[in-house]
């Protein structure tokens, strides 16, 4: 038990903050992830490359693959500050999912070849798990990869491919053995996207941005780009540890809570400051508890990483709590802000003037629940694999 950071860790936090102060605008109206437009892409790419130039992508990875070999707590501090500022750090499929699979199941040659370009933000990866008919039930995916000499030929459709039309590589899960039991016939590949046989169709979303349908029609991927063993892709999918990255999603909520509290301290309703209204105070306390629960789960994840211990309840509890807390958090935000809460950031009378703290938070809630698997699916994992209830 040690709840304090060391002076060196405090200094690291300051260094990250100084960087963000210098590189981000004071008032940030665009919010990442769903907001796919060209201006945002250009800014986010330039920003992420500056982070790369500092050597801060792959902070915890071994130095031989371009990483810094830093401890997980440094990664957490980094994530806390970046998330609090809603910094547009992109390529998270690259430094998250793909790097995680490579570090765990990649060959030495693959690690040498794929990881350094991710560290330098030279190669951008998009996600290729989800299909129109394989969402929550990912193991039912039907995109086929057929061996042809030194290559595999891929045919099928992926969807929800964020930044797909800008990406260089697709982190692909494809069925290589249709005869095998459904969890045993899936293989992971790094599919180069700049080739014929791949087209994208836009999929506009409620956040005002777009994602993509991705059509694969005889696209080719070299056998040497197969990650892990043939037919063992499901193990990489389920054991995904996100490149050793420890996220700090609660800082998004913390930032929003800070915005709402600041508003309550200056705004009056019914002749008194909102902060003096007992009902508002109770809502704020509940929001604080929702943030703190997620923060403590993250601290626990850090301790698990440090002691190389598997997480409690099959690793499902953190996701479930995050996904279920955020709709309630958004609801409480609306209850506190009242009618002004419907005004978009930038509108006159808008109560909050940063995107991640305002009414757009509702879109995030919808995004959060499906990204990476719904809370309902994670509840099933928690109950069966975590608690041992019958399947």
């Amino acid at each position: 038990m040690e709840l304090r950071l060391t002076p060196a860790q405090d200094e690291w936090r300051e260094e990250v903050r100084d960087f963000l102060d210098a590189e981000l605008p004071a008032r940030w109206e665009k919010s990442s992830e769903w907001c796919e437009d060209e201006d945002f892409w250009a800014f986010a790419m330039a920003f992420t490359r500056k982070v790369s130039a500092r050597g801060w992508i792959g902070l915890t990875w071994p130095q031989e693959y371009g990483g810094q070999g830093r401890p997980a707590v440094d990664q957490l501090i980094f994530s806390e500050e970046f998330t609090y500022r809603d910094a547009p750090l992109i390529n998270h499929i690259g430094w998250g999912l793909a790097a995680g699979a490579l570090l765990k199941g990649g060959t030495e040659a693959q690690k040498q070849r794929f990881l350094p370009p991710i560290v330098r933000t030279e190669v951008f990866w998009a996600e290729g798990y989800t299909e129109p008919e394989a969402g929550s039930d990912l193991a039912s995916l039907t995109t086929r990869a057929v061996r042809d000499g030194d290559e595999w030929v891929v045919t099928g459709q992926k969807t929800f491919t964020t930044w797909g039309s800008h990406a260089d590589m697709l982190y692909l899960a494809a069925r290589t053995d249709p005869q095998a039991p459904r969890h045993r016939g899936i293989t992971i590949f790094g599919l180069p996207l700049h080739q014929p046989g791949i087209t994208f169709a836009p999929l506009p979303n409620i956040g005002g941005g777009r994602q993509n349908h991705t059509f694969l029609d005889g696209a080719r991927v070299p056998h040497e780009n197969m990650i892990g063993e043939e037919g063992h892709g499901w193990d990489l999918i389920m054991g995904g540890f996100y490149g050793g990255n420890i996220g700090a999603a609660y800082m998004e909520a913390q930032q929003q809570l800070d915005q709402v509290v600041a508003y309550c301290k200056r705004a009056r309703r019914n002749g008194r400051l909102l902060i003096d209204d007992p009902v508002v105070r109770d809502h704020l306390a509940e929001m604080d508890l929702l943030v703190q629960a997620q923060r403590l789960l993250t601290y626990e994840s850090l301790s698990n990483l440090q002691s190389r211990r598997p997480p409690a309840y099959a690793g499902a509890i953190g996701t479930v709590v995050n996904k279920e807390a955020m709709p309630r958090f958004a609801e409480l935000t609306n209850l506190v802000l009242g009618p002004l809460g419907q005004l978009a950031v930038g509108s006159d009378w808008a109560p909050i003037d940063v995107a991640s703290g305002g009414p757009e938070a509702w879109f995030r809630t919808s995004l959060r629940n499906h990204a990476g698997g719904t809370s309902q699916v994670k509840r099933m994992v928690l109950a069966t694999r975590g608690l041992g209830l019958p399947r």
Partner: protein, 388 residues
């Protein structure tokens, strides 16, 4: 940065779990609940023999060392088995206040409290059953010698029938002259509250049992011109809340740990039942509706354990902990409602039957939920920290 328990704390957790599982089976809990004392003198003596009544008190002061973290693993084990002992009242709050006061009388009494020879219990709540300093109104008349006269009533006093002494919080200066209205995390001005050590057999003291759903030995204590000598005033007159607050913070975290232990046991009972009980030709635990009920208990229990560990860790490190304490108890109070409710839903009809163990947890949680500040109290304290 590390939120894990130390190895010796994890070992103590295991020892305590085994101890209470063998000494406090459900059958014994039922028997003690209907007894006059409400607890087992034998179990209490055995705990004293293990040094567990001194746990969390520094060795130079006659304690056994350790802090809130060591105590929290003990409380989790007591919660799992509903072990009924006046530990929180006497060994944590009573002993904590006696040690903090440090007067000769307090020292003498502490020497009897640590080995379990005497039980000392706090008498705080009054008519409005609020928990903060502004709910303490029982008038205490201080005279020039520093002696105190008490008139009025305290309620919800635990184990008063077994106690040799009560620690009574009285108001000796009006609140408007002292602390500002509302809950304060660190009052800049004295609270105007004075703590008095009162023998339960003193003239003018009357105890009345308060039957309650939890089956907890709760009493009302009435004071009719009760005289308290200056030697029995704990700490400086008018600064009683300052003495109480750190002790009650620790106690609130431990109550939260106890609730978490009970929730953990309810989870085991519910998962076990859902896996065994067959309806519609399959175990009911295969139905997602039942899986949701079970995972609700798991999530709440697990989060409460993290809140407890964090708050206890801050207390032990001497870091500001007021908000974390209130987060822990607010969350635990919610778990104390939710875990039994979900367990009843999983067990359905059978949980309504007295012979079945679930109801023992449900009823005890009714007291623990509301004790040492209910959810509303602690949420207001969180809000006060946010508003500061």
């Amino acid at each position: 940065m590390d939120i894990d328990l130390e190895e010796h704390q994890a070992d103590l957790a295991e020892i305590a779990r085994r101890f209470f599982e063998s000494r406090s089976p459900a059958s014994a809990v039922r028997a003690w609940e209907s007894s006059e004392a409400g607890y087992s003198a034998e179990l209490w003596r055995e705990m004293a023999g293990l040094g567990w009544l001194q746990l969390g008190h520094p060795e130079p002061a006659g304690g056994a060392g350790g802090g809130a973290l060591e105590l929290s693993v003990l409380y989790q084990a007591m919660g799992r088995t509903l072990a009924p002992v006046p530990h929180l009242e006497s060994a944590v709050i009573g002993a904590g206040l006696l040690a903090a006061a440090g007067t000769p009388l307090a020292r003498d009494l502490l020497d009897r409290v640590f080995p379990g020879e005497s039980v000392v219990t706090p008498a705080l709540a009054e008519d409005d059953a609020g928990f903060g300093p502004e709910s303490i109104a029982l008038p205490g008349q201080l005279d020039a010698s520093g002696a105190l006269r008490l008139d009025g009533s305290k309620i919800l006093v635990g184990y008063a029938n077994s106690a040799s002494h009560l620690i009574v919080a009285a108001r000796t200066a009006p609140p408007e002259d002292t602390a500002p209205a509302g809950v304060t995390l660190s009052p800049a001005t004295p609270s105007g509250i004075t703590l008095a050590l009162v023998e339960t057999t003193a003239p003018g003291v009357q105890l009345t049992r308060l039957p309650n759903t939890a089956g907890y030995p709760l009493y009302a204590a009435t004071f009719d011109s009760v005289q308290v000598g200056p030697e029995a005033v704990l700490g400086e007159a008018g600064t009683g809340w300052e003495l109480l607050e750190p002790v009650l913070d620790r106690a609130a975290v431990l109550r939260a740990a106890q609730i978490q232990g009970a929730a953990e046991r309810l989870l085991e009972l519910s998962v076990g039942y859902a896996s065994r009980r067959t309806q519609f030709g399959q175990p009911i635990g295969r139905h997602q509706a039942v899986q949701y009920l079970c995972s609700d208990i798991a999530i709440h229990s697990h989060l409460t354990s993290l809140f407890v560990r964090y708050a206890a860790g801050l207390l032990d490190a001497g870091l500001p902990a007021g908000k974390a304490v209130s987060q822990a108890k607010a969350h635990a109070s919610r778990t104390a409602r939710l875990a039994p409710e979900r367990a009843h839903a999983v067990h359905a009809g059978i949980a309504f039957i007295s012979d079945f163990d679930v109801q023992l947890f449900t009823r005890r949680c009714r007291h623990w939920e509301l004790d040492l500040g209910d959810e509303r109290y602690h949420r207001e304290r969180i809000a006060a920290a946010l508003a500061a």
